[in-house]
């Protein structure tokens, strides 16, 4: 009998609890107390998450974020800054022993991102994995993903854009001139897309259902909930780590 995955259905939390819950689940999987887990979540209020190695002052307009009640959180994963619009995206995390995935980082991105590509395909949207860690539709980014491996456990989380508020996104985030130089297509509208732009008739519920199917395809799984220990650990990490200035302003 194969491994049975736990699926945590879509729920909405603030940025600090979202990141803390991912870490709490990673710790629980590492301890053998929780099964491999696929989690879906959203953000309330809207938030900016920055990569582990990024500098807040380089990436985020903190005054704008503070004025518009946009939380700022540092992830435990590398990668770039992301604007998480409330109700505007479906975020997922996959947390499982790393031996369940290819050893190569890019290969494991490709395998896990395959769930998103399959899910979007079920919605009639042809997407492709674009190394290192993006998924694109007609060359436009629709999903960004980031991965860490700790204590023998692989955690990958990422977003799939459902709707877009480009003015807010590109005001909250500072875009590097160097980074823009590398893009063949320069306007923000031509660099990113979202599910409703590809097909306005797709509801958030059907998008979530398709992604759930994409990720669970071929897996033995059941719906579950965070354990009381995971919830307690998440609350502790949220307060003591992710909300702390020491962590947020580490760089």
């Amino acid at each position: 009998m194969g491994v049975k995955w736990r699926v945590l259905p879509h729920s909405v939390q603030n940025a600090y609890l979202n990141m803390a819950l991912d870490e709490a689940i990673l710790n629980s999987v590492a301890d053998g107390a929780s099964p491999p887990t696929i989690r879906f979540y959203g953000w309330s209020p809207s938030a900016v998450s920055i990569g582990y190695f990024q500098s807040i002052s380089d990436e985020v307009d903190t005054k704008y974020c503070n004025a518009h009640s946009i939380d700022i959180v540092r992830r435990q994963t590398g990668g770039g800054a992301v604007f998480h619009q409330e109700g505007g995206e479906i975020t997922y995390s996959i947390i499982a022993p790393q031996e369940m995935f290819p050893a190569g980082i890019i290969d494991s991105y490709r395998e896990i991102c395959g769930g998103i590509v399959r899910g979007l395909g079920k919605l009639g949207i042809t997407a492709e994995f674009r190394p290192i860690n993006d998924i694109t539709v007609h060359g436009r980014k629709i999903s960004g993903n980031a991965q860490t491996r700790k204590k023998g456990v692989l955690l990958q989380h990422g977003t799939v854009l459902y709707t877009l508020n480009l003015p807010k996104m590109f005001t909250a985030l500072k875009v590097s001139v160097e980074k823009l130089k590398d893009k063949s297509i320069k306007s923000p509208e031509d660099r990113v897309t979202c599910i409703t732009r590809e097909n306005p008739k797709i509801t958030a519920e059907s998008a979530y259902k398709a992604l759930l199917e994409g990720f669970t395809d071929g897996k033995d799984w059941e719906l579950g909930a965070p354990t009381p220990l995971e919830e307690a650990e998440a609350n502790r990490l949220s307060k003591n780590k992710y909300l702390s200035n020491e962590w947020v302003f580490w760089r």
């Binding site: 590398g78 770039g80 590097s176």
Partner: protein, 96 residues
């Protein structure tokens, strides 16, 4: 203090902020949207490079990045070296 920024072709954005005292790299901070596995290794990289003379930087970076304990995704040790040389020159260093 000099900051040099590079979008690595086919890779990630890396910023190197360096302080040189004469020909010695006093301190360096590496930031950006890249990946290092394990993540904590970035602090080790920065501390391993601090105090190194400009003439010895290339080998030290090569050694640090060649460790089997680390995987750099989206940039290479060569990128860091070239950016540090640029920072050194920007700080009016004598490297020719």
């Amino acid at each position: 203090m000099v900051t040099v920024e590079r979008k690595v072709e086919g890779g990630k954005l890396v910023r190197v902020t360096a302080v040189f005292r004469g020909d010695v790299l006093e301190s360096v901070r590496i930031t950006g949207d890249f990946f290092i596995h394990p993540e904590d290794y970035v602090v080790k990289m920065e501390s391993e490079l601090a105090g190194v003379n400009i003439g010895a930087l290339e080998k030290r970076i090569s050694d640090v990045c060649a460790s089997k304990a680390v995987q750099c995704i989206g940039f290479s040790g060569r990128d860091i070296y070239e950016m540090l040389i640029e920072a050194y020159k920007g700080g009016k260093g004598k490297w020719a």
